[in-house]
Subunit: 248 residues, 2 copies
DNA sequence: CAGTGGTCTAGACCACTAT
DNA sequence: TAGTGGTCTAGACCACTGT
């Protein structure tokens, strides 16, 4: 199970026990010892292995659950969470999550899938690649009710994911393919949002006049220990977008 | 203290005790019985008053604390949180929170403060006002390092806040004034973000060329029981803006 | 010093899931 | 029926803040 033995008396240290338990669990999660959808050991098991009370284990486990890293199913067990992209900015195109009628037609179209050697140096840097290295570029568009609301390009290392361009991606998500074909688990992502004027490229794909405002989203997706495996740049129609937050 | 008496045996009902405790506390918060910065009763007091164990009260209190409604200071007590606008979209102009050098000059300038009778009907509706009612409009601009990054207009009911236009707002925040002068507590706000093309108005104030993309933020601020007391419309330079999130 | 929240323990009973 | 997480209790000791 790969868990350290703890106890208040033994270690001369420092922080609360439940924090130490939490970090021990987190380490196993981040090192992929427990993989997405797998079941964690029971609270009883963990508490015995680590030499702390069940209540303390519970505190750690509940904390991880609140952060969404794991989820608990009563009567079944505790399981490793799969990354959830429902919070992604991209989900807020066409007021999704805002509209009552959710039964709209959602479509993904692949515009291109190719290997390039000349991409933005900043992307190369994020992917830890050098000038001239092969980069897989997947170009896709999302339409809702037959209106294209956004398009994006994904950039991945070709040496890391050989033949990715020739795999079918339309039904299943990219991250499922990475997991099943290459054994790579995406455990998190960062996104940043901005706005700018549509370029020709964007205007064409999104069916917009020139000089229209678009939403620009940059994503980096990473694995255990923060290794970036995908850079994604999304551009979408601002008239089909709204992002809401609540303060207080 | 205005708290109901609970117990597992007595009530023939339903949900977990700690949820019921939480809702009782929440009711007192929302009705303003406990005001911002005030101290809540002790866990011991609450548990006695409500007839449940301290552990159960603790569960409820910790949950509220995690949601940010209250905060606990060890050795002192538990206090009602004041609304925190650090998460506001507007805070992400000029990459604030992203930059290491935080010592930049932040300035608020009042462009106008007047009473209008003709404003967007949608704003009137939100403020529960009728056509022709007086509306206080505060127009201000925020500059960082002598560059105007955004400007906003606040709309409030003039009958609710008479003489607001003549009060000085430059040093202290609007919400402090509402609290101290009118006894109105803003307990929350909703914001929604979008992008569009700069209007003449925006281009002039933000010193932008026409046809530049700007970030548009709509805010409604409300009191206990969700009464909207301010509508705020912010427009800012997209080149001075970035909003980040993390998934997973 | 007494009072607060922070942590930790050791039990109890329940509802749900699987077999 | 046995095992899981969900809830609830009743205590213990600690560190911190005020007097």
């Amino acid at each position: 199970m790969n868990l350290p033995r703890l106890s208040v008396a033994s270690s001369a240290d420092e922080r609360p026990l439940y924090i130490q338990v939490k970090e021990a669990l987190l380490t196993n999660l981040e090192n992929g010892i427990w993989k997405p959808d797998e079941q964690l050991p029971t609270e009883t098991e963990i508490s015995h292995h680590m030499g702390v009370s069940e209540g303390t284990v519970r505190q750690a486990v509940l904390s991880l659950a609140k952060e969404g890293r794991i989820h608990r199913r009563s009567g079944k067990g505790t399981f490793v969470s799969r990354i959830n992209f429902d919070q992604s900015f991209a989900r807020f195109f066409r007021f999704k999550g805002n509209n009552e009628c959710d039964r709209s037609q959602y479509n993904v179209t692949t515009i291109g899938a190719e290997i390039q050697q000349r991409v933005d140096p900043h992307i190369l840097q994020l992917l830890q690649l050098n000038q001239g290295d092969n980069v897989v570029v997947l170009h896709r568009a999302i339409s809702i009710d037959n209106v294209v609301v956004c398009h994006y390009r994904s950039y991945l290392s070709e040496s890391r994911f050989p033949d990715l361009v020739s795999l079918p991606l339309d039904d299943t998500g990219l991250y499922n393919v990475l997991e099943q074909q290459y054994g790579v688990h995406v455990v998190g992502a960062k996104e940043s949002l901005n706005a700018r004027i549509a370029k020709k490229d964007d205007a064409l794909i999104l069916d917009l006049p020139q000089n229209e405002a678009v939403i620009a989203i940059n994503r980096t997706a990473f694995t255990y220990k923060n290794e970036i495996i995908e850079v994604r740049r999304t551009v979408g129609r601002s008239d089909k977008f709204r992002y809401d937050i609540r303060l207080g």
